[in-house]
């Protein structure tokens, strides 16, 4: 399986800016057999790292 594309998706979540990272591969995902199934991971913005 090869990663074919990584796309950051940024959005205003109200209480903070939220970053999703969309990872696409050249193979169907492990679940449901859908082609190019994206796997998404969240991450806080650097300036929010101090929050509880």
């Amino acid at each position: 399986m090869k990663i074919t594309r990584i796309t950051p998706i940024l959005a205003d979540g109200g209480h903070r800016i939220i970053v999703f990272v969309k990872v696409e591969t050249d193979q169907p995902g492990l679940i449901a057999g859908q082609p190019l199934r994206p796997c998404l991971c969240p991450s806080p913005m650097p300036w929010t790292a101090r929050e509880s």
Partner: protein, 239 residues
């Protein structure tokens, strides 16, 4: 935050005020509701012990980061000085960051953040390490509904899971809208996912409609409103 901005050493005024606040909360909610106290690492160990002993009669479920966690041996002294369980972990990374906390007895409830402690797999390993020390798991999660779904998967696979942090959907409906069908919350309990994968899907169209605003008025202002704190002399305090 159950304690006011506190100096390295302080007298009884702030201790009395904090105790009065917690007493009022306990009297208001009774014994059926758990109270969780987050010191957010803003106290010195000396003051943390004094606050904790004042809080003991009101039986909070735990105190979170009574002092900074970088020196686990010192946090262990705080933990051993109070009957209230100590929680920590949001500023620790990978299993290596949690090893010393467990070995020294610095905390009995670990709060790894799956978003920055190494991901789902690493958080599960941290949870298993905690299990061997009879410590609990309460993943740190002040983010959005996708991070909540990630945490819930870990929780469901961890026998020592205790409680899950999340942003109240009613407080931050904007974040809820960023995924399609976020996990429902019923009577204070998050229902487990029933769909494939993480169980929630990012709503990319909604994300496109809500571009982030990095201007100082918006993003910077948000930081200042929610997270900025100073000591009485103007020095910057941990928020």
């Amino acid at each position: 935050m159950p304690v006011p901005i506190t100096n390295a050493l302080d007298g009884p005024r702030k201790l009395n005020a904090a105790e009065a606040g917690l007493r009022a909360v306990r009297e208001a909610v009774g014994d059926e509701m758990d109270i969780l106290l987050d010191m957010h690492g803003r106290l010195t160990p000396q003051m943390a012990i004094q606050y904790a002993r004042r809080f003991e009669p009101y039986a909070p479920l735990f105190i979170e980061e009574p002092c900074q966690a970088e020196n686990p041996a010192v946090m262990a002294r705080v933990a051993s000085a109070t009957t209230i369980p100590v929680a920590t972990g949001e500023r620790l990374f990978l299993r290596w960051g949690f090893r010393e906390i467990l070995e020294t007895g610095g905390a009995s409830l670990l709060q790894p953040d799956p978003c920055h402690c190494g991901g789902i797999g690493e958080t599960r390993k941290i949870a298993t390490m905690a299990e061997t020390y009879y410590a609990g798991l309460a993943p740190h999660n002040p983010y959005g509904p996708l991070a909540t779904a990630v945490s819930v998967h870990i929780d469901l696979a961890s026998p020592n899971f205790v409680i899950q942090e999340m942003i109240d959907p009613d407080v931050a409906p904007e974040a809820q809208a960023l995924v399609i069908e976020p996990l429902p919350v019923v009577n204070g309990h998050i229902l487990p996912p029933t769909r494939p994968g993480l169980g929630v899907e990012v709503n990319e169209a909604e994300c496109a409609r809500r571009p982030p605003d990095f201007s100082i008025e918006k993003a910077g202002g948000m930081v200042m409103r929610h997270y900025y704190a100073t000591h009485e002399d103007g020095g910057i305090a941990d928020s």
